[in-house]
């Protein structure tokens, strides 16, 4: 009897010390998420008649989405951006770095520190640095490199905007991929490799038949989490191109921002936000299920 009142008191105290966190998350994350669903059914705006007197418009924002070429463009751009930078760029370079750094090389620490560096750069600084690398004219770094190989320089962010933001985001995320994949590689027992080598397998066979299949669970988790975090990228692209030229780099977070704070259409912006929230949640749920969290 005494025991159970004591336990009840402890349970109450635990809930009490968790409650400030709970309150903040409810007020500034959960409530806004629910509120954006509500907003997406209204014609709420920052300026004009709708600003004073917002009305419930049912599914009108969503039917407008279906016919909005700029919305479909931003979904497409987001898709290419995620596949190009997270699924291909960061993954390939991260995997190569992880595999190479397993060797007992000199300067191993130096290499991995340098690869980690871009991850530390704040979004705006990263954007600013790459504006220099990718500028037009013959003196910009990328132009000098391609001229060295006998190709013609160009104004990179104007000519290949989407490719360039993929390059920059790849640069920023190699380290994350490298760290996750290194952790995955270290779970493969070395006996497996030895046995394969005894059987006369060559390095590329070992990679295709052993490393890749055994790494599949880690790779899948990496793909899900990096896809989700790439959908959320805003500051980096905003600092580099602000979605331009002509919507070529208008990923979904930039499109939401532009609809809400440039076009002042909060209700319509909220409908786009709900689409982004749903896509992220689907990937997030897949992630949580795939990692089989024991909570």
């Amino acid at each position: 009897m005494v025991r159970s009142t004591y336990e009840k008191r402890v349970a109450r105290q635990l809930l009490l010390i968790l409650s400030p966190s709970l309150l903040l998350l409810l007020a500034f994350v959960i409530y806004p998420a629910v509120y954006s669903v509500y907003l997406s059914f209204t014609n709420e705006a920052l300026t004009g008649a709708a600003a004073l007197n917002p009305r419930f418009v049912g599914l009108r924002n969503y039917s407008r989405l279906l016919h909005d070429a700029k919305f479909w463009n931003s979904l497409f751009v987001t898709f290419v951006f995620v596949v190009g930078s997270a699924i291909i760029g960061q993954f390939v370079l991260g995997l190569i770095s992880a595999i190479m750094l397993r060797r007992d090389l000199a300067f191993k620490q130096l290499f991995s520190s340098i690869i980690l560096l871009p991850n530390a750069a704040p979004e705006v600084v990263a954007g600013f640095m790459w504006i220099s690398m990718l500028a037009g004219g013959e003196n910009a770094t990328l132009s000098r490199i391609v001229m060295f190989f006998g190709m013609t320089p160009t104004d990179w962010l104007q000519t290949f905007p989407l490719t360039m933001i993929i390059v920059v985001n790849t640069w920023r995320g190699i380290a994350t991929a490298m760290i996750l994949l290194t952790a995955g590689l270290s779970t493969i027992p070395s006996e497996v490799y030895e046995a394969a080598r005894m059987d006369g397998a060559n390095p590329s066979q070992i990679f295709r038949r052993i490393t890749l299949p055994l790494m599949m669970p880690t790779i899948l988790l990496y793909m899900l989490i990096s896809a989700v975090s790439t959908i959320a990228v805003f500051g980096l692209v905003y600092a580099l191109t602000r979605g331009g030229p002509g919507g070529a780099t208008e990923v979904i977070s930039i499109y939401i921002y532009n609809q809400s704070f440039t076009a002042f259409q909060l209700g319509y912006g909220a409908a786009v936000a709900v689409v982004a929230l749903v896509i992220s949640l689907i990937l997030g749920i897949a992630y949580v299920r795939a990692m089989k969290v024991q909570v």
């Binding site: 010390i17 060797r103 704040p122 977070s253």
Partner: protein
């Protein structure tokens, strides 16, 4: 020589060379942009292009503080992000302990919820968030004016306002870092044996005494990791200050840098590079300290 040859058969020498070459290429890709910021910030005649300074100078750094409001931007960033980090450490320390020790029904739903919250794109939340903060700000503003009168209301609201005030940005920045921090602390407390606490309970210590005397000292490494990741992420954030701040007195480093860059007609690359380097350094230092926690935190997220 022979020992060496036995350890490393001749065959593996060539792959080593290839590894060096590949890693050097990847490292060059990662490092070159940083060279530009560093060199341009020390160049008396800095250009948009990477070049070796002909005239080395610290003048660009001096100008950040003497000619522009650099000192204020640095103070604002350190104050806002520092306060948010402290708040995250306190809340996540308490909350993580509760999540680790409780057996209540809400444990599992709450943990799934914070994992899912981490995937929500902040841009999708900012419009409703702005409206909520605006409502809170208006209520608070009226209260402040009622209590102290309109004269000092603006000065006070700059500190405790939800929109265009320190408090609002601190609370929102902290909230965005909370899910990861709670997860780190929960995992950390899971690994701490309960014996110590039970001994403290036997000695008749209350919950608060247990937390202060037993758990905080034990939890310091976890708190350090949670705090460092919160600091790095909040320090680099651009979206929230962009939306929540408008007064020049409240500008933080990312806004100062972004807006200085937008003055298209008079772009001063030396000044911008010095400002960027000042903004970069705390993040790099924090990252250096966070390095030993990176693997645990990232792979912890994967393996659960």
């Amino acid at each position: 020589m022979t020992d060496f040859a036995l350890d490393k058969p001749g065959k593996s020498r060539r792959p080593d060379l290839m590894a060096y070459a590949t890693l050097s290429l990847i490292s060059a890709f990662c490092a070159v942009p940083f060279f530009w910021v560093l060199l341009a910030s020390l160049d008396g005649n800095a250009q948009l292009f990477l070049s070796w300074p002909r005239e080395w100078t610290l003048n660009n750094y001096v100008r950040v503080f003497a000619e522009e409001d650099g000192a204020r931007w640095v103070f604002n960033s350190l104050f806002v992000v520092g306060s948010a980090t402290l708040l995250v450490m306190v809340l996540a320390g308490l909350g993580g302990y509760a999540l680790s020790r409780t057996r209540a029904w809400w444990k599992q739903p709450f943990l799934y919820a914070i994992l899912l919250i981490r995937v929500l794109p902040p841009t999708a939340l900012v419009v409703p968030l702005y409206k909520i903060l605006l409502t809170l700000n208006n209520i608070e503003g009226n209260l402040v004016r009622m209590v102290i009168g309109g004269d000092h209301a603006r000065a006070i609201m700059r500190w405790i306002g939800f929109i265009d005030g320190y408090l609002g940005l601190i609370l929102v920045l902290a909230t965005m870092q909370l899910p990861l921090a709670l997860w780190i602390m929960k995992t950390f407390f899971d690994g701490l044996p309960r014996d110590y606490e039970e001994a403290a309970v036997m000695d008749g210590a209350t919950m608060l005494q247990r937390i202060r005397r037993v758990l905080i000292p034990l939890a310091l490494p976890g708190l350090a990791a949670a705090g460092l990741f919160a600091f790095i992420s909040a320090w680099g954030d651009f979206l929230l200050p962009l939306i929540l701040l408008s007064s020049p007195e409240l500008q933080t480093l990312p806004l100062g840098l972004f807006r200085a860059f937008l003055r298209v007609n008079t772009i001063d690359y030396g000044f911008l590079a010095a400002l960027a380097f000042i903004y970069l350094m705390p993040a790099v230092i924090a990252f250096g300290f966070a390095r030993r926690f990176l693997v645990q935190t990232f792979s912890g997220g994967v393996k659960g």
